[in-house]
C-alpha cells in the first residue's frame, strides 16, 4: 500500500473539492473528480489490479494512458458490463463499479495462478506441440475456460451510439502541444480545422508540464475557430483521407432509455496531421511485470496531473535521457529516487540530474517481491564489472526510450525507418495526405516540434507540401533494453505473458519473420496491441538472429489504433434501423383485419389472416379454398412496377426478356422471363403495352431493384443508342388483387367500369380505367389460376379502395388471403416462383421455355449462354410436378430425389410443396434430371433419413384446360 495522494498544488487535472465514491472488486473507495479509475486506485494504495493472461501472475498499473497492458477491468452499470476497459483511461464517475478480470475467486487469491508453476511446460506455442492425443477436443473446453479476459453480458445494450460525418481542410489527431500548434496555424491561415484530443481538454499527456504556452495556444485555437473534439481518439485512416475517431460522451445520468454513450466521427479531410505522440518503451528485466514496476513517464504524470504518488522510494531503470527528467520531476513531487540505473555506458548519457545516484552500465538483475515490489538487485548491464547491489524500494520505473505512435502514418501507407540513435521507428517521409508532427514524428525537442507543427499547419492550409521533420531531442538510447545474461522471465508482452525466452524459442524454431514471431508467441496481439511490447520484441528477435531492427521490420499497422466499441462503429444501425423494413401502404388496415405479418424479402407482409385462433396453416388452407370457391382479396402492392418509355422501348424489352414484347398490341400483356448474361433465370414478370412506346413492367417484389438496375446498365453501357427511360413506380402505385370466380361480381358491385368485365377484357390485358376519381391501371393476369384482377391505383387511394372491395367481397363470402395461400394456389397451378423453384443454375429450358426461345429470332440477354454444351446436356434438371405415391404424405420442401439411399448422387429435389385444400391431397413441384421425359415415373424423395415415394405427374394439378382463368 504505497500509493498515496500528494498535497496540492500537484494534480492539475483533479478537483480536490469533489469526492467520488466507487466500488472496486466489491469494496468501497473514494476518488476525486478528474481522476481516472487507475489514478484513484493508486491514490487508495491499490496496487494489485489484475492477473495475466496465461500464468495468472499478479499485475498492477503499468502506464497512464491508452497503452495500458495490465490494468484491464470490467465496468458494471446496472444490467450491463463493459468488458476489458483500460483503467488508465476510464474517467472516474460517482457510483462506478469496476472489477478485475481473468481471476477466480479473487484477484488476490487466484486459482489460475497454478499455471505459473507449470510455466516451464508452457513456452510459446506449447499448444501446437501437445494436446493432440487422443484428441484436442478433450483439452479444448478447459483451455477455453482459462482463456479470455473480461466477461460480456448477454443483455441487449440499451445505450445509444451515433455517427457524425464531417469535412475539414485539416484534421489534427492529437491535442498535445505539437497537434495544437499545427491546428492553430492551419486555422489561422484560413483552413477549416478539426482537432481530436483524448483528454477532457487539449494539452496531451504532458499537458501538466505547461508553462502557459499551452493555455495561450488553446486560446488561439478557440479564436481561430478550431473545432475541438475532446475525449476522442482517432483510430483509423482509411482510403482517400477518411479519418475515423470515437468520442466518449459523458451523457449525464442514466435514464430508463440508456444514454448516448459514444459518437463515431467520420472526417473526410484534405490533409491529416498525426500528432499522437509516443509511447514509453519499457526495460526488459527479470520479473519486470510485478505490481510496482511501471513506466517512468506514467509515474510522473500520476504525480503531477493527478496528484498521486505511485510509491515512496523509486528505482529507475533507464535506457534514455528522459529518465533524468522524470527523476528530477518526481523527486520534486516527493518521491524519493533511490537510484537511477542506466543501461547505457557513461558516454551515451546526455542528461543529468542533481541529487540522484546514477549508475551507468547498470541494469536490474531481479525484482524482489511478488504481489508488490520490495526492492531490486542491480548488476552491470554488460555482464562485467561490479558486484550486485541491492536496493530497497516500492516502485521501479522503467524508461527504455520512446516508440513514436506511427500508427496513423503507417495505416495511410507510410513507410518507417529505424533511427539507430534514438532506437525507434520513425516515419520515412510522408504518406499521401498525412503529415506527422511532434513525438510521433520522432521530434522530442519541444521548440523544434512546435516550430515544425506551425509550419505544417500553415503549409497545409495553403496547399503546400512540407518537408518531414528531422527527428531530434530523444538523445541516444540502446536498441536492447535487456542486460546481458538475464535469467528468469523478462516480460516483453505483459498482457499475453510473452517473455524474452519465448522470443528466443521462436528464433530457435525459425519463426523469425516478424509476423511469425507475432503469431507464434502472440506478442503484440493483446488488447494493448503491442504499444509497449512490439519494439522490444523485434529488437530482441534481431539480436538473436543477427539482424538490425530495420531488417526485422514491424508488422503492419491496421486500424483501430485503439480498440473501438462495436456500438460506436455501428452508430444508429441497430434494431429497426439496422436495415429498412418496407411496409404496405395499407399496413394498418391489414393489421386491423387480423393480418399475421411476416418478413418476405425486406417487406413486412401478411402471411395469412387467421381468425378464431386458427394456425397459420389452417388460415392459409381456408383462404386458398375460398379463392377457388368464391374470391379472395390480396394486397400485391410490393409487386415491382416499372414504366418503360421511349421510341425504342419495344426493341429494348425484346433484348431484355426471353419473350417477345414488340409484337404486343396496345393493351396486351405477356409473361417475361429475365436472364442474366450467363443464361440463368433471375426474375420474371409481366409486360403490358400501354401505348406504342410506353410499357408497364411488373417484376417480382424482391427483384424490382435488381431488374431496374440491370435495365439501366444495359441501356447506359451497351445499348447506348436506344432511346428509352426506365422509371420505377413501385411506391407510386398500390396494388389490390381480386382472385376467384366471383372477382368481377364484387368489382361490379363496387362500381368498377363495365368495360373491365371478363366478357370485354381478356386475360393478359391491361386497361386504364377509373373508380370515381381514382385512376386505375387494371391488369388481368393470374398467379392463382382463377379469374383475377390486379388493380393498380394511386398509392394514397389504396386503403380506401381496398376497404370498399373488401366490404363487398366479405358480403360475397370472400376472404383476405396472404402469401402462404398464394403459394398454395400457384403451386396447385404449377406456376413457378423464381428463387424458390429455380436457383443459380436454372436455365429457361429447364422450366419449359425451350420452345419459346426457339421461336424468337431476336437476340436477348443471356441467349448465347444457352448454346453452350452445359445448356444442351440431356441430364439437366427440369421442372416437374410431383404427387406422393400414397396420395397423402406431403413431400417436404428441400427433400432430395434419389433412387438409392445415401451416399448417392441426387437426381433432383422438391422445390415447393403444399397441401391442396381443393384436392384434399399434397401437391409439389421439383427439379428432376430429365424430368420432362419422366411423366408417370415413380421416384423416391429423401428427407432427413425419411423416404417417401412419389410420382412424376402432369402440371397443373388443377384446371388443366385453364378455363377458370377466364371467369
Amino acid at each position: 500500500m504505497s500509493g498515496r495522494r500528494l498535497a496540492a498544488p500537484r494534480g492539475s487535472r483533479i478537483d480536490r473539492e469533489r469526492t467520488l465514491s466507487f466500488l472496486w472488486n466489491g469494496r468501497p473507495y473514494t476518488g476525486l473528480q478528474g481522476d481516472t479509475l487507475a489514478s484513484a486506485l493508486v491514490a487508495n494504495g491499490v496496487q494489485l489490479v489484475g492477473r495475466s493472461f496465461k500464468y495468472h501472475r499478479p499485475r498492477g498499473i503499468f502506464s497512464c494512458g491508452l497503452e495500458e497492458p495490465t490494468a484491464i477491468v470490467d465496468l458494471i452499470d446496472g444490467r450491463h458490463r463493459t468488458p476489458n476497459a483500460r483503467a488508465t483511461v476510464v474517467e472516474l464517475a460517482e457510483g462506478m463499479v469496476a472489477e478485475s478480470v481473468n481471476c477466480w475467486p479473487s484477484v488476490g487469491f487466484d486459482l489460475g495462478a497454478v499455471n505459473g508453476w507449470f510455466a516451464p511446460l508452457l513456452p510459446a506455442g506449447f499448444y501446437y506441440k501437445t494436446f493432440k492425443w487422443p484428441n484436442w477436443h478433450l483439452f479444448e473446453p478447459m483451455v477455453r475456460r482459462m482463456a479470455g479476459l473480461g466477461r460480456a453480458s448477454l443483455e441487449a445494450d440499451d445505450d445509444r451510439y451515433e455517427e457524425v460525418c464531417a469535412e475539414a481542410d485539416v484534421v489534427v489527431a492529437g491535442g498535445g502541444i505539437a497537434g495544437l500548434s499545427a491546428a492553430v496555424a492551419a486555422a489561422q491561415a484560413g483552413a477549416g480545422t478539426i482537432l481530436i484530443t483524448a483528454g477532457t481538454a487539449t494539452g496531451g499527456a504532458l499537458g501538466w508540464r505547461d508553462d502557459g504556452e499551452l493555455d495561450a495556444l488553446a486560446a488561439k485555437a478557440a479564436q481561430a475557430g478550431v473545432r475541438i473534439l475532446t475525449r476522442s481518439v482517432a483510430f483509423g485512416v482509411y482510403d482517400h483521407n477518411l479519418l475515423c475517431a470515437t468520442e466518449r460522451l459523458t451523457g449525464g445520468p442514466r435514464g430508463p432509455r440508456g444514454v448516448l454513450r459514444e459518437r463515431l466521427w467520420k472526417i473526410r479531410a484534405r490533409s491529416i496531421v498525426s500528432a499522437q505522440g509516443s509511447f514509453e518503451r519499457p526495460m526488459l528485466f527479470t520479473d519486470n511485470d510485478r505490481p510496482g514496476v511501471m513506466l517512468a513517464g506514467a509515474a510522473d504524470e500520476y504525480a503531477h496531473a493527478y496528484g498521486v504518488a505511485c510509491g515512496r522510494r523509486a528505482v529507475i531503470a533507464a535506457n534514455s535521457d528522459s529518465a533524468y527528467q522524470v527523476a528530477a520531476s518526481l523527486g520534486a513531487a516527493g518521491v524519493e529516487i533511490v537510484a537511477l540505473l542506466d543501461r547505457r555506458a557513461h558516454a551515451d548519457i546526455g542528461a543529468h540530474v542533481d541529487g540522484v545516484r546514477v549508475l551507468p552500465n547498470t541494469g536490474i538483475d531481479k525484482v524482489l517481491g511478488t504481489s508488490a515490489v520490495r526492492g531490486c538487485v542491480a548488476v552491470a548491464a554488460d555482464g562485467h564489472g561490479s558486484r550486485p547491489e541491492r536496493f530497497d524500494c516500492d516502485l521501479i520505473l522503467s524508461a527504455g526510450g520512446h516508440a513514436p505512435a506511427v500508427h496513423l502514418h503507417s495505416q495511410a501507407g507510410g513507410r518507417l525507418r529505424w533511427l539507430a540513435d534514438g532506437a525507434m521507428f520513425v516515419p520515412d517521409g510522408a504518406a499521401p495526405g498525412i503529415v506527422s508532427v511532434g513525438g510521433c514524428a520522432g521530434v522530442f525537442s519541444r521548440d523544434t516540434a512546435v516550430a515544425h507543427a506551425l509550419d505544417v499547419g500553415r503549409a497545409l492550409a495553403l496547399g503546400f507540401t512540407v518537408p518531414s521533420a528531422t527527428p531530434c531531442g530523444a538523445g541516444r538510447s540502446l536498441a536492447s533494453t535487456r542486460i546481458a545474461d538475464a535469467r528468469g522471465k523478462q516480460f516483453v508482452d505483459l498482457q499475453n505473458d510473452v517473455a524474452a525466452g519465448d522470443v528466443g524459442l521462436a528464433a530457435l524454431e525459425n519463426y523469425r519473420s516478424v509476423e511469425h514471431l507475432k503469431r507464434y508467441t502472440t506478442t503484440g496481439m493483446a488488447t494493448d496491441q503491442g504499444k509497449t511490447s512490439n519494439v522490444n520484441a523485434l529488437v530482441l528477435m534481431g539480436e538473436l538472429t543477427g539482424r538490425e531492427p530495420a531488417e526485422v521490420g514491424t508488422t503492419k499497422f491496421r486500424p483501430p489504433f485503439v480498440p473501438a466499441s462495436l456500438g460506436a462503429l455501428v452508430g444508429r444501425r441497430v434494431g429497426r434501423l439496422y436495415r429498412p423494413l418496407k411496409h404496405l401502404p395499407a399496413a394498418e388496415w391489414h393489421a386491423a383485419h387480423g393480418a399475421l405479418y411476416e418478413q418476405f424479402g425486406n417487406w413486412n407482409r401478411p402471411a395469412a389472416y387467421p381468425v378464431g385462433g386458427e394456425t397459420l396453416h389452417a388460415a392459409a388452407q381456408r383462404e386458398a379454398r375460398t379463392v377457388r370457391r368464391s374470391l379472395g382479396v390480396f394486397d400485391g402492392s410490393p409487386l415491382g412496377k416499372l414504366e418503360v418509355w421511349g421510341p425504342d422501348a419495344a426493341e429494348f424489352l425484346d433484348l431484355m426478356y426471353v419473350g417477345t414484347m414488340s409484337n404486343l398490341a396496345r393493351g396486351q400483356a405477356r409473361y417475361g422471363l429475365l436472364l442474366n448474361e450467363n443464361g440463368i433465370v433471375v426474375d420474371d414478370g409481366i409486360v403490358a403495352r400501354l401505348d406504342d412506346h410506353h410499357f408497364w413492367v411488373n417484376t417480382t417484389s424482391a427483384g424490382v431493384e435488381r431488374t431496374a438496375s440491370a435495365f439501366e446498365e444495359w441501356l447506359q453501357c451497351e445499348y447506348t443508342n436506344l432511346r428509352v427511360f426506365v422509371t420505377p413506380v413501385t411506391s407510386r402505385y398500390g396494388n389490390v388483387t381480386l382472385s376467384g370466380p366471383k372477382s368481377w361480381e364484387v368489382m361490379a358491385a363496387v362500381g368498377f367500369d363495365a368495360g373491365l368485365s371478363p366478357g370485354s377484357m381478356k386475360h393478359m390485358t391491361m386497361r386504364e380505367s377509373a373508380l370515381g376519381d381514382v385512376p386505375l391501371r387494371v391488369l388481368r393476369a393470374s398467379f392463382t389460376g382463377e379469374l383475377s384482377y390486379e388493380i393498380n391505383l394511386p398509392v394514397d387511394a389504396t386503403t380506401a379502395v381496398l376497404d370498399r372491395l373488401w366490404t363487398a367481397a366479405a358480403a360475397a363470402g370472400g376472404a383476405l388471403y396472404g402469401i402462404e395461400a398464394l403459394e398454395i394456389l400457384r403451386t396447385e397451378k404449377g406456376y413457378i416462383h423464381i428463387g424458390t423453384d429455380t436457383d443459380g443454375t436454372t436455365l429457361p429450358g429447364d422450366i419449359g421455355f425451350g420452345r419459346a426461345i426457339g421461336a424468337k429470332t431476336a437476340n436477348f440477354v443471356g441467349r448465347r449462354s444457352l448454346l453452350r454444351p452445359a445448356a444442351l446436356d440431356p441430364q439437366r434438371f427440369q421442372l416437374v410436378a410431383l404427387s406422393p405415391a400414397d396420395g397423402r404424405t406431403q413431400l417436404p420442401t428441400g427433400a432430395q430425389i434419389a433412387a438409392s439411399d445415401p451416399p448417392t448422387t441426387p437426381e433432383g429435389h422438391v422445390t415447393s410443396s403444399f397441401w391442396s385444400p381443393e384436392l384434399g391431397a399434397p401437391v409439389a413441384l421439383g427439379m428432376l434430371a430429365r424430368g420432362s421425359s419422366r411423366l408417370g415415373e415413380r421416384i423416391r424423395v429423401h428427407h432427413l433419413g425419411e423416404r417417401i415415394d412419389a410420382i412424376v405427374v402432369k402440371a397443373p394439378f388443377i384446371d388443366p384446360a385453364g378455363s377458370r382463368l377466364h371467369g
Partner: protein
C-alpha cells in the same frame, strides 16, 4: 411534426410529385419553357418558379441528366404538363405523387441533423438538389434556405428515415 431544440421536421402530405424525363434538356428547354417559365435545372441544382398557367409555385429538383422532379402543391398543373408532353417522343412525365414523400427540416440544427444522416459531400448548399445516401437509403435533399431543406424519399423507406431522424433529434 417532430421537433427538438433548434429543429423541426415535418412530413408534407399535400405535395404532388412527378418525374420529368427527357433525353436532351437543351432540346426540351424550348418546348417546356413555355409551361414552366424557366430552364430545367442543371446538375445538382434546384429551381423554383411558377407555372405559366394558374401561377402555381413549383420546385424542380435535378435527379440525373435525364430526369428532374417536379414538386407542386396542386396536382392539376402536373397533369397539364403530362398531357402537354403526351405526344412527345423526347420527354414524358411520370406521376410519382404518394410514391415520393417530402419532409421539410428547418432550424439552426438542420445541418447537424444532416451530417448525422449522411456524408458531408452529399449535403446540398442552398439552391442545390443532391441525391445521396442518408440513413443508409437514397434521399434527394434540396437546399431551400440556409437552415431549411426538403428531403425527398421513396415512400417505402420514409418510415425508416423518419425513425432515424427521430432517434437523432431525441438526443439533441
Amino acid at each position: 411534426m417532430d421537433s427538438a431544440a433548434g429543429i423541426t421536421v415535418e412530413l408534407d402530405r399535400g405535395v404532388h410529385v412527378a418525374a420529368l424525363r427527357y433525353f436532351d434538356a437543351d432540346a426540351l428547354g424550348e418546348r417546356i419553357g413555355a409551361l414552366l417559365g424557366a430552364a430545367l435545372p442543371s446538375e445538382q441544382r434546384s429551381v423554383r418558379g411558377r407555372f405559366a398557367v394558374g401561377d402555381t409555385p413549383y420546385l424542380l429538383a435535378w435527379r440525373s441528366p435525364n430526369e428532374c422532379w417536379v414538386l407542386c402543391d396542386d396536382g392539376a398543373p402536373i397533369e397539364a404538363l403530362r398531357r402537354s408532353l403526351a405526344d412527345s417522343r423526347d420527354a414524358c412525365v411520370v406521376v410519382q405523387t404518394g410514391g415520393i414523400l417530402a419532409l421539410t427540416i428547418a432550424g439552426a440544427r438542420t445541418r447537424d441533423l444532416l451530417c448525422r444522416l449522411g456524408s458531408a459531400a452529399s449535403i446540398p448548399r442552398t439552391g442545390e438538389a443532391r441525391t445521396g445516401r442518408f440513413a443508409d437509403i437514397t434521399v434527394t435533399v434540396v437546399g431551400l434556405a440556409e437552415a431549411e431543406v426538403l428531403l425527398l424519399v421513396d415512400r417505402a423507406y420514409a418510415n425508416h428515415l423518419l425513425e432515424w431522424i427521430r432517434a437523432t433529434i431525441a438526443d439533441f
